[in-house]
Symmetry: C2
Subunit: 659 residues, 2 copies
């Protein structure tokens, strides 16, 4: 008998032990307390700080002596004061190599992108001279290579061309371009100063991938003009008008141009392929454009090819940037267009510059302050607009080359700038015989990298809706227009967010056996329902956009649950528990919703219980609650487990364990 008795004892012990654990759980009900009081002003201050100063830019000033504060402030405004004093010859050696490398890329690209924007080629070189110097003083990225970029050039050129012809009225066109650059810079600097940098976050990654790919195709299509040697080309940008223009002018095609273009395009694409496959051979792809320019210029010069159907750049002016502040036009009939162009190109180029800066900062493990970068890029464009530069930013391809070439600080931009200066002063005549077809090939090679097929495939794999957004951006840009494609994609992205709010996810919870954890019944198969309880978790802020839906949906859920319970002959529904941990905010529509819901449930004999409302939500609920329902301890619990344990006792006859 002894062993048996012992096992019996053991069983008893376990039972006792188990029940005493339960007892602890049942007795220790944590009260939901109102959060510590804060005045409206305090709350507003906190909210504003989190919205506009989430990075707390002044935290390093705290507790510093006044002299140090002045130094910190100067360093804050001019980051060059931060790294400049520690600059060494060793760093300079790295910077000079990378600076020369990006200069060899910047000179042909500058000329090409200026032509893409329908501007004189020399403006592209001007824009690679002044803005990099400004950025060196103000910018906080160490890898950004500053200068004109393809997409912003394309957009500026195509938008301004809507009202003014660059061939018939080149001076006015140039004036508008500088003025648009000024507005672009103003928008960029304002976004930074007003700390509204989050506006560029609304261009999602998916949108940008689709947009960039579309823009790359549009840019490449424009190059068909120089690659095929066509003289009468359409002014439109879309796929269909360009292709129809190309095939309507087949007799203008020049075989010499096509042959030359084909050869250099193959050469450039091959070197690009080498450069991307082996980052150590970055100089192959970085030097190829300049080599192509020199080689093709020599070829044209040697064979006098300009008389055989190959068009060349022609004579270029020598000298440094002339001042252009007298060319800024803040009045007249084109002001609206110019401001719109400035706004769009400003935001697009800002997005590229910030994204590039962040990418390389993450690689080298340092921080880039988004708002400060915006001010730097903005000021750089404002200064640029009065020194004959058009819109510039940090270019992705050149920054990658800069990074691979071992750039350590922004001094590589200074090296590039000086190289461009030397070119402007002494080497301009050499470009006279450079054929346009090579510039076209350089542009196509540069923008091919913007089409990111693996990223698109990854998006398809992860999120079908994001893929749709990407596709809309891509097709919109290719078939409608660059601006409208972008607008459509942003619109759809925002619509998705609003839809998520309008139809918030609501999850039915069940108990994980042997614990007081409650989780999604549809996700965890082992989770079980508790008879008499309907436990729902609402997964969104409750506001005007979703109260109607939530009200009807929850009442219908109760109906369904009751119908099912009746079918299973279980005890009828007594409590609806709303798990509120995920309700981050509530407005007045939301507080009314709870009152209405409670009333509707009372008519059905069901009680509403809230679990773990967040501080702000709890406060608003209690303030709106005249009847005091949301202050009663039996309608507010800290966890679902405690709510179920405590309320179960009111359903069943209280057993010894639940005293």
């Amino acid at each position: 008998m002894e062993p048996n008795s012992s096992s019996n004892d053991n069983n008893k012990m376990q039972l006792q032990h188990h029940s005493s654990c339960l007892e602890i759980a049942a007795m220790e009900v944590h009260r939901v307390v109102p959060p510590p009081h804060k005045s409206t002003i305090e709350k507003l201050k906190r909210r504003l700080k989190e919205t506009f100063f989430p990075d707390d830019p002044l935290r390093q000033f705290k507790g510093q002596p006044l002299g140090k504060k002045w130094i910190l402030a100067a360093q804050y405004i001019f980051p060059i004061l931060e790294w400049g004093p520690n600059y060494s010859f060793k760093l300079f050696k790295s910077d000079i190599i990378s600076g020369l490398t990006i200069a060899s890329l910047a000179i042909p690209q500058g000329i090409s992108y200026a032509k893409l924007a329908n501007l004189p080629p020399i403006v592209g070189l001007y824009s690679s001279f002044v803005p990099p110097l400004v950025y060196t003083v103000l910018g906080s990225s160490r890898d950004l290579a500053v200068g004109p970029v393809s997409i912003a050039s394309l957009i500026m050129g195509s938008m301004l061309r809507q009202e003014v012809s660059p061939t018939q009225n080149p001076v006015l066109f140039l004036q508008l371009a500088f003025t648009a650059t000024f507005f672009g810079g103003l928008v960029q600097a304002s976004l930074g100063l007003l700390r509204l940098g989050f506006i560029i976050d609304f261009l999602s990654k998916a949108t940008l991938i689709g947009f960039m790919a579309g823009a790359a195709i549009i840019v490449s299509l424009q190059q068909l003009k120089s690659l095929l040697g066509i003289t009468h080309f359409t002014n439109q940008m879309g796929l269909i008008p360009v292709m129809s223009s190309v095939f309507h002018n087949t007799k203008e095609w020049s075989w010499q141009t096509i042959l030359m273009g084909f050869c250099f395009l193959v050469f450039l694409l091959l070197t690009r392929h080498v450069g991307t496959k082996r980052p150590k051979l970055f100089w192959v792809s970085a030097g190829a454009p300049l080599v192509s320019v020199i080689l093709s210029t020599l070829l044209v010069f040697a064979f006098k090819a300009q008389h055989h159907g190959i068009s060349v750049i022609g004579k270029l002016q020598e000298g440094l940037n002339p001042p252009s502040w007298n060319m800024l036009k803040f009045h007249g009939s084109h002001l609206g267009l110019v401001m719109k162009t400035g706004l769009i190109t400003g935001i697009i180029s800002l997005t590229e510059g910030i994204a590039v800066g962040r990418t390389f900062a993450a690689l080298k493990n340092y921080q880039v302050d988004g708002n400060k970068e915006m001010i730097a890029i903005g000021v750089m464009n404002i200064v640029g607009s009065s020194t004959s530069c058009y819109i510039t930013t940090g270019a992705f391809s050149r920054s990658a080359v800069n990074h691979n070439a071992g750039a350590k600080t922004a001094v590589s931009n200074v090296v590039m700038s000086v190289t461009v200066m030397v070119t402007l002063l002494f080497l301009m005549p050499l470009f006279q015989y450079t054929p346009n077809v090579v510039l076209g090939a350089i542009i196509v090679t540069a923008v091919v990298g913007l089409i990111d097929v693996p990223a698109a495939h990854q998006i398809w794999k992860i999120d079908k809706f994001d893929f749709l957004v990407m596709l809309c951006a891509f097709l919109g840009v290719v078939f409608i227009s660059v601006q409208e494609g972008l607008a459509i994609a942003v619109g759809i992205s925002i619509f998705k967010i609003l839809l998520q709010i309008t139809r918030p996810k609501t999850v039915m919870l069940g108990n994980m056996p042997g614990s007081d954890i409650y989780r999604d019944l549809h996700h965890y198969n082992e989770a079980i329902r508790i008879p008499g309880f309907l436990i729902l978790s609402i997964e969104a802020p409750i506001n005007f956009a979703n109260t109607t839906y939530l009200n009807e949906r929850i009442l219908r859920w109760i109906e369904e649950y009751e119908a099912e319970e009746n079918l299973n002959k279980q005890s009828s529904l007594r409590f609806v528990i709303l798990e509120m941990s995920a309700v981050s905010a509530i407005d007045t529509s939301g507080t009314s919703f709870f009152k209405d819901l409670r009333k509707a449930m009372e008519k059905k004999g069901v009680e509403l219980v809230l679990v773990n409302p967040l501080a702000e939500v709890l406060e608003k609920l209690q303030r709106s609650d005249d009847s005091g329902d949301f202050k009663r301890p039996d309608s507010l619990y800290l966890t679902v487990g405690e709510a179920v344990a405590s309320l179960s006792s009111t359903i069943k006859a209280p057993s010894a364990n639940y005293v």
Copy 2:
């Protein structure tokens, strides 16, 4: 020694007991499992169903025989078939009383509102005849009193007046009004058919309160024309132009008109006050307008007051609604304006109709199907537009009277309609001497009820931001224009939602002593930090709009936490636990964010642990995760408590309790 030993034993027992409880907690770690597999099509179907058919309208059809299905379908389309067969004489007695009551209100209001829309007074009566009959067949609310309403009348009149003068070109103006009504009905029915009813939810309660109060003031200002007897009145609507027009024409003021207007206004406001204070005396306020019309008409007739500066309606045509489908103009230069007018008045009147229907349905505890109501109201306006009616909907004030007068079904609308028909056929000549000033007083009395000061005060108490939205709507309507005020308020409301997403709330959690519950450290003072752990709860979907913010914010939080721990000489940070219960969705930017965050943390020697990601989020994270980091069991836990318990053992030397 014995007692001591016993107490010692007791202590041991307790310790043992406690440790065995902990042991259970430490050993039973629940695994996070991937959710049951579902194909993309299934997910899409589910998502679409929840977005467009959250009410599952076909659920009653399930499992019914075919014949029954036909009957149900007919009842679904024509709700009259549902309640009609059970209609009894007892119900009819209630309906006839309430029908006559609302008719006595509808006749003077119809005439007044038509004048507000710059339409001939008789169109207001036409609009109280046909639409109620259509609604009786199609509508599912039992209390809605259908007819023209003040705000929609005001908006239609003011918008159409932008392009066509109602005095110089009355026929064209009437054509445009009917066409706008047609488009309004089309918009309403389409929203219902396409199940896009949630669009009207974007007019939040706060917006509507501000908007209605502003519109009430604008409407009242317009009545100064008839109340003061001014003949040269401004065409503008804003507070400033109307007041300046009023005080520039002081010599046009007619004391007879002012006296009469003042008397009737006081009478009407007093009866209205009685009606709202004592719902049983509803007939006092309901009958007052008709009494005023009759009394004032008799007065004018007796004293020949029309020759003494009191303007009267004048001769009105007799007879029922003439057909007007030949007056609908779907071409011409005004089409854009007409469509815009139809869209805005359609949505505004729909919002009022649906809100009124829902309010009274909740009072009487029955359901109103929003999308079905939209179709009913839309069809009613389409039919109305071809039978000389302008835009109609369920009016709040008249529906309240209808409800108080004991209306049981939509038959009260039929009774009202028949009464209006009798008026149209036989009683029109009686209105010839009705003075305009009384109509003005009736309108002012009706719209005063739209200014809801207690609700505004309640909003101020609960949510300051909602109050701001309300104020913007109010001031926008009063000082700019009705449409722009509304647009500004909706814009701000949506901006707030986007801001909530862009700057998601993130809460730092601490342990509630003696439990495995983790709650907000700033809300619950007793909650304590666990050394070596940073536990954050993210309270929003993670998407393109907030990944940049979250990335920087979390990294800064880690920095701060580490700085503080160093100060307190505590063990350094080892784990960052992200509680993901409240992250309802994620996109590709979100999945990249987690990868970047994990990489950045690895560089700091901190490990990232996720707790309770929802099914959809978990799936996307694992699909995007090539390295398999989010599949390792030690980076995924079901509760914070289990994560801390399980990971603590890796920090300290494992004790006997944590085997």
